[in-house]
């Protein structure tokens, strides 16, 4: 069952579309990686999903509720944390917990307190004195204490070092197992996502390029290397995402659509980084080129 559904969702700032015609279903119980370069529309999408702004076009609903029209029913069910968590710097960690319990109807303060203790974060510490990694962990613990069904995380680890990222992910994975929530996590760092996220959305220029189950996507792509003269035959069976060639040899990243029967071709597994890169480079330059052609034709 889908937890979140976007239909032809768009957001325009002035004349520029930050997000355009996005149609996306997010199945429940998944940890979704929302991946794309800076400016792809990841933050805009998450902000629309939270109801921070009214979309310029289309709709987004979660649990069948509109984040803005049904805010009273929607907000208790969703948690949110961003790259620079908006925590009051002069508050202590204990103050934040107290504030959370007063502002939220559903609030599991016991769980939040025990998580913070396990992380070794003292309640008397002021927010200003916390490291970036600790601040991100506190923001996540607070978002989880609402007991949300859906958690939206906008680049939560962008400013963290690898160890702090790992600790953040351990906390998130444990919480996901304990609370069974759906998570949408935006990131432009791909490395950590393979083992943590089980659903992938690749976004460029406000449009989805690739959506699906993480294992199926990674298992469903391969690098094929073989003689250039049989490229067309391969292209009739496999979906070519990225192609490079020398005089006689072709080097392809393909989505597997059928068996590879020509013994002259070799196949190799590809990792998530390579797949995402192939989709990003497939789409970005081509649309540039199109725009340039149109601009030329118009002049």
């Amino acid at each position: 069952m889908n937890v979140l559904e976007a239909r032809h969702l768009g957001m325009r700032y002035g004349r520029k579309w930050a997000l355009e015609d996005l149609t996306l279903d997010v199945p429940g119980g998944r940890i979704v990686a929302l991946v794309g370069p800076n400016g792809a529309g990841k933050t805009t999408f998450l902000q629309l999903a939270m109801g921070f702004a009214e979309p310029s076009a289309g709709t987004v609903v979660a649990f069948g509720l509109s984040p803005r029209r049904d805010a009273a029913a929607f907000l208790p069910r969703v948690g949110y944390a961003a790259q620079e968590p908006a925590l009051f710097r002069r508050f202590s960690v204990g103050d934040l917990l107290k504030m959370g319990s007063r502002l939220n109807h559903h609030w599991d303060g016991t769980m939040a307190a025990s998580r913070l203790r396990r992380l070794g974060i003292g309640f008397d510490l002021s927010v200003a004195s916390l490291s970036g990694g600790m601040r991100a962990q506190v923001a996540l613990v607070l978002a989880l204490a609402k007991m949300p069904d859906l958690l939206l995380l906008d680049e939560p680890m962008a400013s963290l070092d690898p160890l702090a990222r790992h600790e953040f992910m351990r906390l998130l994975m444990a919480a996901s197992a304990e609370q069974g929530l759906t998570v949408i996590l935006s990131s432009h760092i791909i490395g950590d996502l393979r083992a943590t996220c089980d659903y992938l959305v690749v976004l460029t220029r406000g449009r989805t390029q690739l959506v699906g189950d993480m294992d199926e996507i990674v298992g469903g792509h391969q690098r094929l290397v073989g003689p250039l003269d049989s490229l067309d035959a391969i292209g009739r069976v496999q979906e070519i995402i990225q192609a490079e060639h020398s005089d006689r040899q072709a080097n392809l990243l393909v989505r597997i659509r059928g068996p590879l029967l020509d013994p002259r071709w070799e196949s190799f597994p590809v990792d998530l980084d390579q797949i995402v890169l192939a989709y990003l480079s497939r789409n970005a330059p081509i649309s540039d080129f199109d725009t340039d052609l149109k601009a030329e034709a118009a002049s």
């Binding site: 119980g29 998944r30 994975m173 490395g191 393979r194 083992a195 294992d215 298992g219 013994p263």
Partner: protein
């Protein structure tokens, strides 16, 4: 030397981010290996999904998928409310058979060396032959 005891339970599962195996198949392989080589025996309890997810920073669904896969194979069994347990022994080829296969392989390697095939060439030939064998088997079935 004392090693830090990182997790309760008989075995420590790992995640190799450079492996070309999907994360859930890595877990399947590690558990199968532990049963085959006696680090896990019938009745041993596996770590909870939550603990593996938190320990390795991996998706809980991945752990579930691995456990389910092994349950379908009959290697594991879950008892509601108590956990997931090893349900049967695994026996690969007998030590004698393994030793015989190894001897045959060593003879073949000596032959390959005589024919001028270096280690890299052996590996390439081996990978290629396995691939063709798999394709032929798939086409035959």
């Amino acid at each position: 030397m004392t090693l830090p005891r990182v997790a309760a339970g008989a075995i420590t599962l790992r995640m190799d981010t450079t492996s070309s195996l999907t994360p859930y198949l890595q877990l399947v392989q590690q558990i199968t290996h532990a049963v085959r080589f006696g680090q896990l025996t019938v009745g041993d309890r596996l770590p909870t999904v939550r603990d593996v997810a938190a320990q390795l920073a991996i998706n809980p669904n991945t752990v579930l998928k691995a456990y389910r896969h092994l349950e379908v194979q009959g290697l594991l069994a879950s008892r509601p409310g108590t956990g997931v347990f090893v349900a049967k022994e695994l026996r690969g080829p007998s030590p004698q058979d393994q030793a015989a296969l190894r001897r045959a392989l060593l003879r073949w390697l000596a032959q390959a060396k005589e024919a001028g095939l270096e280690a890299e060439g052996v590996q390439a030939l081996f990978a290629d032959t396995i691939r063709h064998y798999t394709i032929d088997q798939a086409l035959a079935s």
